[in-house]
């Protein structure tokens, strides 16, 4: 403990604890490393499923199959689109509602908060939501990824409490210059809220990128399936696209799907792994704000 700032002997506890922490890191990182190594292995090697620290025969064959697979790449496109559109819509919509709610002189504010709180305690659940989506024409539509997740009360509260910390004097000077409420929001408040915007955007983006459940439940057409739902089908249901089957026949491996599965998994995870070191502090900040409010 640095803060006690006193020199102390390094005992057995310190050694054991450090080793334990290293073990935690290993257990956390090794599964991803395993996928990376096997996706870079030649398909025949990967099919053996043996534990390797490095690829035995370095090969990009599986990646070339994954990147040439039109269905998979379409899934990649759908996922990218829903991540970008879904995040922008969620942040804009939620922030606008939150700005209105952050004003104490807003008429009906208490009523609006009560209406919102009830939704935290009760909800319809899977079947009523499914019926609703069907009736709204959102079943098997791209917008099912965007509209039902464009707002959450939780993120609204995070935005709202942040907006309340912005000094009134900033907003007032703009008002004196004749700016409307929307003008103040877009020209003064949002540019001063970049930290909270970053946090909420990242949570929303990670949700959209990783979600496979919406695709399983609400999407029927192949060309609207997000990448993660495709992965679910490839991994859990063992279904293969036509391209993959052809590729497998070509490689003629014993359990040929493995390296292609791993390469597809890597393609779906790389964006998260690449950005993770840069974004993780925003993500932690987000859970802190959430914890204080909740």
């Amino acid at each position: 403990m640095a803060r006690r700032g006193r020199f102390r002997r390094i005992g057995a506890f310190e050694v054991g604890n450090t080793l334990l922490m290293l073990a935690v890191c290993f257990l956390t990182l090794y599964p991803m490393w395993f996928v990376l190594v096997n996706s870079l292995n030649s398909p025949a090697q990967a099919s053996l499923g043996t534990v390797n620290w490095f690829p035995k025969e370095l090969s990009l064959a599986s990646y070339s199959v994954a990147f040439n697979d039109k269905t998979l790449m379409n899934g990649f496109y759908i996922t990218t689109m829903r991540t970008v559109i879904g995040t922008v819509v969620h942040v804009l919509f939620t922030a606008i509602v939150a700005y209105g709610m952050s004003k104490s002189n807003l008429m009906g504010r208490k009523l609006y908060l009560k209406i919102s709180l009830i939704t935290m305690l009760f909800s319809g659940g899977l079947i009523p939501s499914f019926i609703l989506m069907t009736k709204l024409g959102l079943y098997d539509s791209f917008w099912v990824f965007i509209i039902p997740s464009m707002y959450t009360f939780f993120n609204m509260v995070i935005f709202m409490s942040f907006f309340r910390t912005i000094p009134d004097s900033l907003e007032e000077s703009a008002k004196v210059d004749g700016a409307s409420d929307y003008g103040v929001l877009f020209r003064i408040v949002l540019p001063n809220s970049m930290a909270v915007i970053a946090t909420i955007s990242l949570f929303s983006a990670v949700y959209h990128w990783n979600d496979y459940y919406q695709g399983v439940i609400y999407i029927h057409s192949q060309e609207l399936l997000p990448l993660q739902t495709m992965l679910y089908k490839i991994i859990a249901e063992n279904s293969m696209s036509f391209m993959q089957q052809q590729a497998m026949a070509q490689f003629g491996a014993r359990l040929p799907g493995n390296s292609i599965k791993f390469a597809s998994m890597m393609v779906a995870t790389l964006p998260i792994l690449i950005f993770y070191p840069f974004i993780q502090r925003y993500l932690v900040k987000g859970v802190m704000i959430g914890a204080i409010k909740g």
């Binding site: 403990m1 640095a2 803060r3 006690r4 506890f13 604890n17 450090t18 922490m21 935690v24 890191c25 956390t28 599964p31 991803m32 395993f34 996928v35 499923g49 534990v51 919509f93 606008i96 700005y99 209105g100 709610m101 008429m107 609006y112 209406i115 939704t119 305690l121 909800s123 319809g124 659940g125 899977l126 079947i127 009523p128 939501s129 499914f130 609703l132 709204l136 707002y151 009360f153 409420d181 929307y182 929001l185 990128w209 990783n210 979600d211 496979y212 399983v216 993660q228 992965l231 991994i235 859990a236 599965k261 998994m265 779906a268 998260i272 070191p277 993780q280 993500l283 932690v284 802190m288």
Partner: protein
Amino acid sequence: MFQYRTEQMKALVRQWQLQSMVIPGIIWMFIFCYIPMFWLIIAFMDFSIAKPMLESPFVGLKHFQDFMTDDRFWRSIRNTLGMSTIKLVLGFPIPILFALLLNEIRGLRFKRTVQTISYLPHFIAWTIFGGIALNWLGEGGVINQLMMAIGFQDREILFNSDPKYFWWITFFTDTLKETGWSAIIYIAAIAGIDPGLYEAAELDGANRWQRMWHITVQSIRPTIAILFILAVSGILGSNFEQIFMLKNNMNMKMAESLDLYIYNMGLVSGRHSFSTAVLFARSIVALGLLLLANQTSKKLTGDSIF
């Protein structure tokens, strides 16, 4: 009275911009939260999705009686409670222990690196994480190789298709994926403890474990209580994304949780009213559990959510 109303109307008109910001949010909530609540009423009907709701006949508690006499429903209750209990009894203390031990690490840089790495899996999709688990637990997978190498088993075990392993697989994969993330809140609570308390305890001759127990654990007790209340009230829920990924036809009899049962009955078999009856009953029991857990915690520890 009339005067007062017109004043209010004028004020409302003056703040039309603010109102126009908030009202879309209220409309969204009305459509996506309140209408589904209203649709719960089909639990008492023979609803068909092709017809308008009001044309469906009321059948009273028929669907409730049906699921109460369905063995598969009770099996799903058993599976849900089994998995939740393991998670609660064995899983709940793990992030607390991790936070306590991480707090004892002196090197600030090492501590931060371990923490950053520990919550990485939280951001990996269940498709990926579950995919790795299925691969490792499968025939010729890493787990079988490891167990045979250290002599714990003499032949391959098909962990994925033998139902008796399913609960434990969900427990271990969940622990691996979420421990670091769940620990964040405890780590934050520990960071807020007054360092003076530790110094005082040290002067009084308290050893490491005594400090850990009497200062750290006691200081974060309210956090622990709140998370415990939430965990207990969520006992009838399960991690659908996880179970859906790891289940298969062979392990279904231990894998079908209440969530999965509702999904299978409602969306696979198309029994919308029946499934909604199960949903309805569950949300009432869950609300009761939340209140019960809250009261119990208030009595025992003085800490509660409301």
